[in-house]
């Protein structure tokens, strides 16, 4: 096994199990739909809240997508193969995040125009929202993967994983929605975007190592 063959197989697995990604997307749209139905369908409420609604829904659906990231690998023993392969485990984890991020976030971005139209998001703010998703979502994946690796050996791990990981998502949501709000108010939003990027870079450094430790502990 090499790094490139690992990346290839990850993409292939995700492609063959595309129903999972599709489910996460459908879940995302459903959560977004809850807000107009449950709170208020008028543009006066939805337009200012759109950034927050989309981010909350995105966080939940990304958690759904990450939650099972190691389950199959753990059950069929390929996780052990990764540990004993002699390749750097943190690097493999980094590649795994890369594959997962590409397969979940790209479709998410593709349906974003539709959803922002449904939530009456002004078109000037739309691109800011896309930018926050692009810059902020890597850190969601990196942090989430730690939780997924920690709870993979548990039968009822998914609830626990959400309980563990959601508090760590607070800062990302805060900075992302404040960037959208600042853009809506006509203020400068580059500071929030820089913070999102900084958090993604920090988790890029910390998370693969931590995920590798968690995978090693879970496999033993």
């Amino acid at each position: 096994m090499t790094y490139s063959s690992f990346l290839q197989s990850e993409f292939l697995i995700l492609w063959r199990r595309k129903q999972d990604v599709l489910n996460a997307l459908l879940f995302f749209i459903l959560v977004v739909a809850l807000f107009p139905i449950g709170v208020d369908p008028s543009p006066a409420f939805l337009a200012p809240a759109a950034g927050g609604i989309i981010w909350c829904a995105a966080v939940l659906s990304i958690l759904m997508a990450i939650e099972g990231a190691f389950k199959e690998d753990y059950l069929d023993g390929s996780l052990e193969q990764l540990v004993t392969s002699g390749l750097s485990l943190p690097l493999l984890m980094l590649l795994k995040v890369l594959a997962l991020w590409g397969c979940v976030v790209v479709p998410l971005l593709l349906i974003m125009p539709l959803l922002s139209e449904m939530l009456f998001l002004p078109s000037t703010v739309f691109w800011v929202l896309i930018l926050t998703l692009l810059l902020g979502s890597p850190s969601l994946f990196f942090i989430g993967l730690i939780g997924s690796a920690l709870t993979v050996s548990l039968r009822q791990g998914s609830m626990l994983m959400m309980l563990l990981i959601l508090p760590f998502y607070f800062p990302v949501i805060i900075f992302a929605t404040s960037a959208v709000h600042a853009a809506q108010a006509g203020l400068s939003y580059s500071g929030s975007l820089a913070m999102l990027l900084a958090m993604s870079l920090l988790s890029l450094v910390v998370s693969p190592v931590m995920t590798a430790i968690a995978v090693k502990a879970s496999v033993n």
Partner: protein, 248 residues
């Protein structure tokens, strides 16, 4: 040579016998500090000229909030020690201190709400401090839940240590993001810092109370660690001897 004490910390037996004589004095001093600080603060300290007697809850609220944060730093440090040196005592310490930290965060939240009702007119606002203590509480609960979810002790140790370290890295980010978020949305925050500067009659009992809280919690943590050591090492001969000779 100076690091010998640090390496000895890795031995539960050494720790057990070293810490045995510490628990009672710590708990005793802590109780005295608590009683003196609280009675002094609640009954004898002068009333605040703005808030009247309502401010007296500070003598419970502030120590609890301080401990909730201190416990988390200790937790993160122990997680780091475990990940780097695989020290046996670190997970025992984490297991002993996590529920205490959670209770302290809860006390800070509840007393804060009780204090907020008469002074701010509301039980809860999404103020930066309140929100960050709430997140802290959730972090504690996550760690406790994770620790109790595993049957395998080694795996539970590793997993909680990872979460503690990640939490320690994230704690400042969470704290400052909340501060930033809050100040962006509402100009004037209700801040504890805006209270008039305290006179000595007011902060002295607070100091005594804080020290009492710390000592009491230190004793409690040691006590919990000792029972955890006995439980984890129940197969070893020194535990059998200890229990047979002196009982539980």
């Amino acid at each position: 040579m100076r690091w010998v004490w640090f390496h000895k910390l890795g031995s539960p037996k050494w720790f057990f016998f070293q810490s045995k004589s510490w628990v009672l004095p710590l708990l005793g001093l802590g109780s005295i500090g608590l009683i003196v600080g609280l009675v002094w603060g609640l009954a004898f300290a002068p009333a605040d000229y703005q808030q009247g007697d309502t401010f007296r809850i500070i003598y419970i609220h502030v120590p609890a909030a301080m401990l909730a944060q201190s416990c988390y730093f200790a937790l993160g440090a122990a997680g780091f020690v475990y990940l780097v040196w695989q020290m046996k005592m670190a997970p025992i310490f984490i297991k002993a201190i996590a529920p205490i930290g959670a209770v302290m965060a809860l006390i800070a939240l509840v007393t804060g709400a009780i204090w907020g009702k008469p002074t701010w007119g509301t039980w809860w606002i999404w103020d930066a401090r309140l929100t960050s203590v709430l997140v802290l509480f959730f972090l504690y609960m996550g760690i406790i839940a994770l620790q109790s979810a595993f049957d395998d002790v080694m795996l539970a140790n590793k997993a909680t240590a990872v979460v503690c370290v990640v939490g320690l890295i994230n704690l400042p980010i969470i704290k400052y993001s909340v501060v930033w978020w809050n100040t962006l949305h509402q100009g004037a925050t209700f801040s504890l810092a805006e209270k008039p500067a305290m006179s000595a009659e007011m902060w002295l009992p607070l100091l005594v109370s804080v020290v009492g809280f710390y000592l009491f919690i230190a004793g409690l943590v040691l006590w919990r660690m000792q029972s955890e050591i006995l439980q984890r090492e129940h197969r070893s001969s020194w535990v059998k001897k200890e229990v047979m000779d002196r009982g539980l």
